[in-house]
């Protein structure tokens, strides 16, 4: 009985191609719209998270002054190497502590010159900032101790000055001195605020202090925390330690600030998540419209189908056989529509995420959800009118106009 109902159902689908197509279309549109929107939204969120992660993992940025963004506050003293040592020795759970002194300078190689940011720091800088060395090496201990004029250059600087060449061993002029290029850094691209992270060169801290700043100050400190769960603890430890070292009286405001990349990440991905929800809501409307389309087609065809059911009953079909046929019809159509929708959505998502340069991730739950929803509507509205008609007396069903 199941098999013959299945045959009957398939035959009906083939026979009523237009009706079948319209039903499927509703499901396809609903399913593919929701999946594509949500997948792209998730991709955008992921892209933002990736960008923030490229700033450094579990990174805390300590700057003088009170403001969250932007350089040192007026009047607030810079840090010293002693502060860095104190942080390193007194606060547990740190992966890297990188003192940093930044100056802007023009760098010159041959006939090319480029204005960039010159960073004085230690090897910890690369660890904290998730930097990779594309070619060459990082500093040796001797170079860091002596403040030798060796440097690693960012991708933007390299390409601006040397084109496609890897300039290891070349000498690069920085202001009034020159340094030997010992390495190039892997590219990290734009940071979330539009700043080009690759536009810089890195020298040992002492070299920058001595030759560009002319003092022993440290403009900022990057602290990388081993375990993300400890960030709040580390933050308060840092604040306590630095208040003490900077002799800030009880009740006075800090004259430094500790910035957390996680906060930035949360703020930004929160925004994109709102966007995703919004897109999802818009797409849900198309799912709903698709559902109403399915409903209409199914209900409109009910008059014709009531007669059909009457004929089938009159020639000896059991109520259960008729219902089974209609149920199978609805299930086959809904499943077909759902699968086409998912295939279409996958294609569109992959393509659009390439165009929009966001990562593509397959989201099983949204696929399932939209599939179940539209298939459910298709089945419900394919089945319910049939159930009502099959309960009629055959003569009543035949008389149906």
């Amino acid at each position: 009985m199941l098999w013959s109902s299945f045959l009957l159902a398939l035959r009906e689908i083939r026979r009523n191609l237009l009706r079948s197509f319209l039903t499927i279309l509703g499901i396809v549109i609903g399913v593919s719209a929701v999946i594509t929107m949500v997948t792209l939204g998730n991709g955008a969120t992921q892209a933002v998270k990736n960008q923030v992660a490229s700033l450094g993992s579990n990174l805390l940025q300590i700057r003088p002054g009170q403001r969250m963004f932007g350089g040192g506050g007026g009047g607030a003293p810079d840090f010293t190497l002693a502060d860095v040592d104190a942080i390193r020795s007194q606060i547990p759970g740190l992966a890297a502590v990188a003192p940093q002194e930044n100056k802007n300078s023009t760098v010159v190689a041959g006939s090319n010159n480029w204005s960039t940011s010159v960073v004085g720091s230690t090897n910890d800088f690369f660890t904290a900032g998730n930097w990779t060395v594309a070619a060459g090496r990082t500093f040796t201990d001797a170079e860091q101790q002596a403040g030798q004029t060796v440097c690693l250059i960012g991708e933007t600087v390299r390409s601006q000055l040397y084109g496609s060449a890897i300039p290891l061993g070349e000498r690069l002029r920085v202001g009034n001195f020159s340094c030997e290029i010992i390495g190039t850094l892997g590219s990290k691209g734009q940071a979330s605020m539009g700043r080009d992270q690759d536009d810089m060169i890195v020298l040992p801290l002492k070299a920058v202090q001595r030759r560009l700043s002319g003092n022993q100050d440290i403009g900022s400190i990057q602290v990388s925390v081993q375990d993300a769960n400890n960030i709040d603890q580390v933050k308060s430890d840092l604040t306590t330690l630095l208040r003490e070292r900077r002799h800030i009286a009880e009740g006075s405001d800090d004259n430094f600030n500790v910035q957390d990349t996680r906060q930035i990440a949360d703020a930004l991905s929160g925004t994109t998540q709102v966007m995703t929800t919004l897109l999802g809501a818009v797409a849900s409307v198309s799912l709903l419209v698709g559902g109403i389309g399915i409903m209409n087609i199914m209900l409109v065809s009910v008059t014709e189908r009531t007669r059909e059911i009457g004929i089938r009953l009159a020639i000896g079909a059991l109520e259960s056989e008729v219902l089974m046929q209609f149920l199978i019809e609805a299930v086959v159509l809904a499943a077909l529509g759902g699968l086409i929708g998912i295939a279409l959505a996958t294609g569109a998502s992959v393509l659009l995420s390439k165009v929009m340069q966001v990562p593509y991730t397959f989201n099983a739950s949204i696929n399932l959800l939209s599939f179940v929803f539209s298939a459910g509507i298709g089945i419900l509205f394919g089945y319910m009118p049939a159930k009502r008609a099959a309960r009629l007396d055959p003569i009543e069903a035949l008389r149906h106009e």
Partner: protein, 238 residues
């Protein structure tokens, strides 16, 4: 001849209370196997109602309906459907073929519900179509056939299962005179050559003349029930 069908004191009431309408008022009727009965009568006389009850499409309000000594009035919905499937064939005034479906598929439909395999369905349907003179029309859909042809397809669908009883509700009601006579010839030959018992509702005396027996309904009961003497003379003339 043994009694195929026996109706005993059948009543059928539609509606309830004040607005109720008694369509059948204690009908008693016996039909023998192999008979060809025409049921006549004015509108509202209950001829269609008795037809629907005989066809197990409707149930009587009271009384007994025996089909081969089985009490049909005691059967449930599915049992009545199985009785229709295995013993009855229907021909309707409005043909009632499935839309966008070929003649062949329409005729195969009852066999599908009987669970016959595909090849046997095709052979039987082709044979039934041949019997109604529609060889070669199997792949045409209902919309591509004339009224007379559609009714022939409907008859082929009704006889493809070799039913015991063929019920025809105004089979010529939608057809012109010439087609009507062709359909009646077909029903007569099915009755005489295949031994199928035929019960036909009609309001055209001309068509009733083909039957061996004519039952007149008036006001929910049988008014007259006569063996048709004219049958031979009519057919000689035709």
């Amino acid at each position: 001849m043994s009694a195929l069908i026996e109706l005993r004191n059948i009543t059928k009431t539609y509606g309830q209370g004040q607005v109720s309408f008694q369509a059948l008022k204690g009908v008693g009727l016996g039909i023998d196997e192999g008979d060809f009965v025409a049921v006549m009568g004015p509108s509202g006389s209950g001829k269609s109602t008795v037809m629907n009850i005989l066809g197990c499409l409707d149930v009587p309000s009271s009384g007994e309906y025996l089909f081969r000594d089985v009490h049909v009035e005691q059967l449930n919905r599915d049992q009545r459907a199985l009785l229709r499937r295995n013993f009855l064939g229907f021909v309707f005034q409005g043909f009632n073929l499935l839309a966008r479906t070929t003649a062949q598929e329409n005729v195969e439909l009852p066999l599908l519900y009987r669970g016959e395999p595909a090849t046997e369905r095709q052979v039987a349907a082709a044979a039934a179509l041949e019997q109604v003179g529609l060889t070669g029309w199997g792949h045409h859909t209902s919309a591509e056939l004339s009224g007379g042809q559609q009714q022939r397809v409907a008859i082929a669908r009704a006889i493809v299962t070799s039913p015991t009883l063929l019920l025809a509700d105004e089979p010529t009601g939608n057809l012109d005179t010439q087609r009507s006579h062709e359909i009646m010839e077909l029903l007569t030959s099915l009755n005489e050559e295949k031994g199928i018992t035929v019960l036909m509702v009609t309001h055209e005396p001309e068509m009733a003349e083909y039957a061996k027996r004519i039952v007149h309904f008036v006001d929910g009961n049988i008014d007259s029930d006569i063996r048709n003497r004219a049958i031979n003379s009519y057919r000689r003339a035709a």
